[in-house]
Point group: C2
Chain length 424, copies 2
């Protein structure tokens, strides 16, 4: 018998028919002898509907009091889901009980709309599990010290599920999604892409932040901090597949050292074409220039991703970074009007037609030549590298966006990710 | 400066446009220097939508665990309303804060779907009022001792509003509805029917239970118990009418003895055509026959209204009572198959074509001849009286339903209810 936390997304909870399917799947796990805690999202579309109503009433409000009311409003979506799922389970003869975040309670900070979980009381939940009930807990929300309802921000139900699993020291946290696991790269780009049976926590962090948006990044961080084994699997398989089979499906995000040892050098290829490149040329190389450029950009609330500064030549250096596409125009304006003149730089150039391709793998730490193999592969395809950035477990390059598919496919092949048995 | 509780129904909260109108009306009262607490219902249709989803998942569930989940589900409707109304007030520059039942907290019994309020903590609410905020509290719901969400049953928001007003010792509780007050009788039957400026608590109880369904009866009982002045008024007047004018509009349900003294003998005419009459003839007159007949009816969950048993003659008596129309057939079956044979009664006859007409008035207590005047009026119109039942402040007759409008109009005229200045 294991203690399993299961998280279901909004699509899985999208109608009473689908909720009945979720209930059948959950009841199957309970019948197989497991203790099950479920964390469902709001029915798909519901959170947007509620926030849309607020927007109609207050198109441009941003006060703390307003954010408090948004949380009051948005948290009802998950409350409806837990009530309905509990009813569906009871109707199928499975004893069940639902709790809101404040009932558990799940204590959070007071940062409305982006609160962070501080602690979870497991007392009620354990008592119900021991009494043979499935326990259903609202995702996405909690309660602050003063008794206000808070929410964790978009995708927060993933984080709730992992946090509940951590508090209960669950054996595994199953995240049911509309994909059947984490792939070596996007199968729409590389048909040979393979599902990984497991991936290390660190690799998952890099894959997620680089665009494989299966899990909310914060939930992965949470899983890492508390060493919660998380499995990403599909909610679109038939509900009655065998529990033993389902328990091994999807992709397990793992923290086991020995599995990392057996790991392939490169686990996956991530890519992102939502960024644009900005280069400031002929910057006088003196202390503080990075801050002068990026401080102004950050003040304008633009998120910067890759940052490259090369060694200087003749006391001048070139400084490049990437920003989200929608922020390119105003960032360029800001630099041209203010930063470049103040800095005494020669010129600033923006380019929206770029993409970032990254190879990710724990194995890179201890294997020389992985980056070199990446660069050679791209060179053989005639792809020019514009920027390079590296970390312990990933190497990213910025290239012309028209070469993206070509690059991803070539790298997937070069690192033998399409060969069965290599990964995991 | 007064402390005013305002309740708005689901129709008034039916869309963001209407919520914005409610916010303007509330803000107007706050600007006029009053402390305002608002208790809104769920947006119209929302509670039915939520319970409909539950019904789809569990068509015939009736366990306590199921009712707990219904409350979990249904309580979200009011939570959405308070959040939206608070946002609308803030958008109009009026500081506001919303609370759910459990946040106040409003403590109730554990009877899910029909809980009763036990206590209300006024601490938070007072602090916010003193800080210049409008306080918005979810109607219809509370929290039980174990921390479960409970609801008060249909129309429970009226009761919540009155209970909040009682806890805060509010100067008045304004119930905004789709009618502009309590009338001497239904204006659709008697065009000359007049709005009463005030009505006593006891009369309101009789009027409400007799079919003038403006206020949930429980809220009137609550108002009586705690002597909360309740005003029923229209939410369809323009929001910007003067506060002083609005404060005197509608109908005040009052507990002032001196107003009762000045009161007219008869305040209003109530009627009900939703009942059917059943007579059991030739019942042996011995102890326990009323129980034998009505006990069996009650066991079948049929609600009995008027009950008449006349003095016996030759050791036999006749026994009559009324039941809701939909219950006539099965009650007749029950009596014929079981009760009448056991009782040794002669016969049982059912008649669905009846109606009940009642005159209601505190003044009847001390005025002889009021009932006689009622009977004479009906006699002059050639209307035969089938049953008579009296209480301290009302006299009801059961007559053929085809005479209902005629009887109501004749009585309305006979007791001079259409004459200005007579009532209140």
């Amino acid at each position: 018998m294991a203690l399993i936390v299961q998280k279901y997304g909004g699509t899985s909870m999208g109608s009473t028919e689908r909720i009945a399917q979720v209930a059948k799947r959950v009841a199957k796990w309970a019948r197989a002898g497991h203790q099950v805690v479920v964390v469902p999202s709001a029915m798909s579309g519901e959170t947007n509907r509620l926030l849309g109503l607020a927007k109609e009433l207050a198109p441009s409000h941003v006060t703390r009091d307003y954010f408090r009311e948004l949380d009051m409003l948005a948290s009802t979506g998950e409350q409806v889901s837990v009530g309905l799922l509990s009813i569906a389970l009871q109707a199928q003869g499975q004893p069940a009980v639902s709790y809101t975040g404040w009932q558990v309670p799940i204590r959070t900070t007071s940062a409305y709309t982006k609160a962070r979980i501080e602690s979870i009381d497991d007392q009620k939940v354990r008592a119900d599990l021991n009494a043979g009930k499935v326990v259903i807990i609202t995702g996405f929300q909690g309660i602050d010290e003063a008794g206000n309802i808070t929410t964790l921000g978009r995708g927060g139900s993933d984080t709730s599920a992992v946090a509940v699993a951590a508090a209960l020291k669950a054996d595994e946290c199953l995240i049911f999604t509309d994909v059947d696991g984490i792939y070596t790269t996007d199968p729409r780009v590389v048909p040979e892409a393979r599902r990984m049976a497991s991936i290390s926590f660190e690799e998952m962090l890099e894959m997620a932040s680089l665009g494989s948006k299966v899990l909310q990044i914060r939930s992965v961080e949470f899983a890492g901090k508390y060493r919660v084994p998380v499995r990403v699997l599909s909610s679109f398989t038939p509900w009655d597949i065998d529990v033993a089979v389902e328990a091994k499906s999807g992709t397990l995000i793992t923290f086991e050292e020995h599995e990392q040892m057996e790991h392939a050098v490169v686990s996956g290829i991530a890519f992102n074409r939502d960024e644009a490149k900005i280069s400031v040329f002929g910057v006088p190389d003196r202390p503080g220039i990075a801050y002068q450029i990026l401080g102004a950009v950050a003040d304008a609330n633009v998120e910067v991703d890759v940052i490259i500064q090369n060694v200087s030549k003749d006391g001048k250096t070139d400084f490049s970074f990437t920003v989200p596409h929608p922020d390119l125009a105003r960032t360029m304006e800001l630099l041209k009007d203010k930063v470049v003149p103040e800095l005494g730089a020669a010129d600033v150039v923006g380019d929206p037609r770029i993409c970032k391709v990254s190879i990710v793998g724990i194995g890179m730490r201890s294997h020389a030549g992985v980056a070199a193999k990446m660069f050679r592969t791209l060179s053989e395809e005639g792809i020019n590298i514009q920027m390079i950035s590296t970390s312990e477990i990933k190497t990213s390059v910025v290239i012309d966006e028209k070469y993206m598919e070509l690059a991803v496919r070539a790298l997937h092949r070069a690192f033998e990710l399409d060969m069965p048995g290599v990964t995991a």
